[in-house]
């Protein structure tokens, strides 16, 4: 048994029942890669096709998002409200969850609780088994990726069919997701065409790489599955405590198929996905689509409450997942990471993500939010923990904060996690100490940008070589030379943020 002292009551690393906040247990699910970020990033950076695909896709989405955000004069008011609603949820999380449970149950649903990934997978597997089905259709869900549900189902002889186009591309490509919203963002159209030709049994050999043709191939491939499926597994974007209503936000209609046609629906959801009241959705249904796909509204949003006789699944199970969230909630500043609505805007604006892609992060949660949330969920076991390097996967340029619809101060959280990472080593290096000093200064000085200017922090982090400060690993964590793998000079007269705004990231 080990405990981590975060300056608060103990946060535990094992799964014994003590009623204390607990990290996601090691060795479960997909929150930890095998390689440190700098090492993985070096491999990914060598892939020029990947960089091209990512650069193109994130460029498109940044422009679309900026357009629809500028349209709303009250965007900043919505962000403030979104942030405050989530802070309120965190302050009342246990009570709101009990309220949700009561309302779901009253409407004929069944609520289950899971301490960690393995328990969640076991619950879902048993529920599927009880129906007698040997396959399920799935609508994209970060929570089930986090727990590694597909592998657990497969081990139990149950086939899981991913139905979201990007998830299908990942599944058919025997690949792993690299983006929260668009898991196959690292693939371009011709790569997708090749995967479909190889993996879809009855696909037209003359299939073109036109996105429309590729989408039609996916439709044909999945249609039979949808129409005959008996069990569906979904995630949830929101759960409304005071009504027991669940909401899934999607584009293709695969979500609607899964939520409507099968007899049994199983939804796995992290405990933080709550909003207190139905009318709170008026904030998030404006923030989420504009931030994620850059649309005024996504094509389809489905809401349902328990079971509706004569319409849709007649059996509904909701599985509520902790898996480290209690440990994040126990950190007064860090708990804001639980406000995340998984829009992926912070990924799309991040100069580091844009270059290395999602795989380098090792976790199902990549990008700026992944770099803080992942080590907070798992804890950092020591200098050789791959997640110890994640908080350094950032230039602290602040673009993620500006893009975040719920105003999560990701740069500040990154700095705090760097400090936590440093504390996990036994013998700090000079770089560790510099980082720690910077962390203290920045935390007490409030907003990062003010601190950045006031302290000349950019130069401090740039170090002797005068390179840009983007990725100042503690020497004890660095196994490779990041600066040797990239070619961005340190701009002496401006901050990294100003440089990014001016150049759009170069490359």
């Amino acid at each position: 048994m080990s405990t981590t002292d975060l300056g608060m009551p103990a946060v535990r690393d094992d799964s014994r029942d003590t009623g204390l906040p607990t990290h996601s247990p090691a060795g479960q699910g997909h929150l930890r890669g095998t390689t440190s970020f700098p090492r993985a990033a070096r491999t990914e950076l060598a892939d020029t096709q990947l960089r091209r695909n990512l650069g193109k896709a994130t460029g498109i989405i940044r422009a679309k998002r900026a357009g629809v955000v500028a349209e709303l004069e009250d965007w900043e008011d919505l962000r403030l409200a979104g942030s405050a609603i989530k802070a309120d949820v965190m302050a009342r999380l246990p009570e709101l969850l009990e309220q949700l449970e009561e309302n779901v149950t009253a409407r004929g649903g069944t609520v289950h609780w899971a301490r960690d990934a393995e328990e969640a997978n076991r619950i879902v597997t048993e529920l599927v088994r009880a129906t007698g089905a040997d396959e399920v259709v799935k609508v994209k869900s970060m929570a089930t990726q986090e727990t590694g549900l597909n592998e657990a189902l497969e081990a139990a002889g149950i086939a899981a069919w991913e139905t979201d186009l990007a998830e299908l591309i990942v599944q058919l490509g025997h690949d792993t997701p690299s983006h929260i919203l668009v898991p196959a963002i690292h693939r371009n159209r011709s790569e997708i065409r090749e995967i479909f030709l190889r993996e879809m049994p009855d696909v037209d050999p003359a299939l073109s790489d036109d996105p429309r043709a590729l989408a039609m191939a996916a439709r044909a491939h999945l249609r039979r599955k949808f129409l005959s499926a008996r069990v569906a597994v979904s995630g949830a974007n929101f759960a409304v405590a005071d009504t027991g209503t669940l909401a899934v936000v999607e584009s293709e209609g695969n979500g609607r198929m899964c939520l409507t046609l099968p007899r049994t629906l199983i939804t796995l959801m992290g405990v933080e996905k709550l909003v207190p009241t139905w009318s709170d959705l008026e904030v998030f249904l404006q923030l989420l689509p504009r931030s994620s796909t850059g649309e005024r509204m996504n094509p389809y949003t489905s809401t349902w409450t328990g079971v509706t006789p004569g319409d849709g699944p007649q059996e509904f199970h909701l599985v509520l997942l902790d898996n480290g969230r209690s440990a994040v909630l126990a950190d007064p500043d860090g708990r804001a990471a639980l406000h995340c609505i998984r829009c992926s805007a912070c990924l799309n604006v991040c100069p580091v993500y844009e270059r290395v892609g999602g795989h380098a992060y090792g976790s199902v949660y990549p990008g700026p939010i992944g770099a803080v949330l992942t080590p907070m969920l798992t804890g950092i076991s020591g200098a050789d923990d791959p997640n110890a390097s994640l908080p350094y996967a950032s230039s602290l340029c602040g673009a993620c904060f500006d893009a975040c619809p719920v105003r999560i101060d990701i740069p500040n959280l990154l700095v705090q996690q760097r400090a936590a990472s440093v504390e996990s080593h036994t013998r700090p290096t000079a770089q560790d100490l510099a980082m720690k000093a910077a962390a203290v200064a920045m935390t007490s000085a409030g907003r990062f940008r003010a601190a950045e200017k006031g302290l000349g922090l950019g130069r401090l982090l740039a170090g002797r070589e005068g390179r840009i400060t983007s990725l100042p690993w503690p020497a004890s964590v660095v196994a490779s030379h990041w600066t040797g793998a990239r070619d961005v000079p340190a701009p002496p007269a401006e901050t990294a943020r100003q440089w990014w705004e001016r150049t759009g990231g170069g490359a």
Binding site: M8, P94, A215, R256, R296, P299
Partner: protein
């Protein structure tokens, strides 16, 4: 301890341990809760038309309920529809434009099978609310003329009738009019995906063709 008790105990301990030093401020509701245009006003209908068309769906404007049938007939003819499905309580006057087409009636008590739904070309429904700013039409399952959720999902062509008095400007106004007790489906344009190079392509699993008949 049961998983439920353990998770709740962990969260209670965490909620207290991580409580911010200052009590959270009340949620600032300074965002717009009503839009610039009044519900059902000509301006709000114009905005809805523009925003729905922006998703590459089609909008047919008619002045009165009596003209709905002709507009529906036009949608069916242009899509080449032969077989229809409708909620059994779809208003009778709207059906005058169905001509000699085969019409499947669906209700919660006498539901069509998925195979039957897969065999029809077009579904015609009413709607509960529409939100102009986002170009969204909302269907409430089981409400008059709106049918079960599967109806507006499986057929490839959806003709949705929106009455002017149901059109509001903003998302908050729309949600305030909806009862989450019934399953709701918010539809903003035809089925689409942005999964290939983040470019929007219309038409994946849901109806690939969406026609909105707007009355008023």
């Amino acid at each position: 301890m049961s998983a439920r008790e353990e998770v709740l105990a962990r969260l209670r301990a965490a909620r207290d341990a991580g409580a911010p030093r200052e009590a959270p401020a009340p949620v600032p509701r300074t965002y717009r809760r009503t839009g610039a245009h009044a519900p059902g006003s000509p301006a709000v209908l114009d905005l809805l038309t523009e925003r729905v068309e922006d998703y590459r769906a089609r909008v047919l404007r008619v002045a009165t309920d009596g003209e709905v049938a002709a507009a529906v007939a036009r949608c069916l003819a242009e899509a080449g529809s032969q077989r229809l499905v409708v909620p059994a309580d779809l208003p009778a006057p709207w059906r005058a434009g169905f001509g000699g087409r085969s019409v499947l009636e669906d209700s919660a008590l006498a539901p069509a099978s998925v195979e039957q739904l897969d065999g029809v070309d077009t579904v015609v429904t009413a709607s509960a609310v529409a939100v102009a700013e986002t170009g969204t039409v909302v269907l409430a399952a089981g409400a008059p003329g709106q049918g079960r959720r599967a109806l507006s999902l499986v057929p490839d062509h959806h003709v949705c009738v929106v009455r002017g008095e149901g059109v509001v400007a903003s998302v908050p106004e729309g949600l305030a009019r909806l009862d989450p007790g019934a399953p709701l489906t918010f539809v903003s344009g035809p089925s689409a995906t942005s999964d290939i190079e983040l470019d929007r392509v219309e038409g994946v699993h849901g109806p690939r063709r969406l026609d909105v008949v707007l009355v008023g």
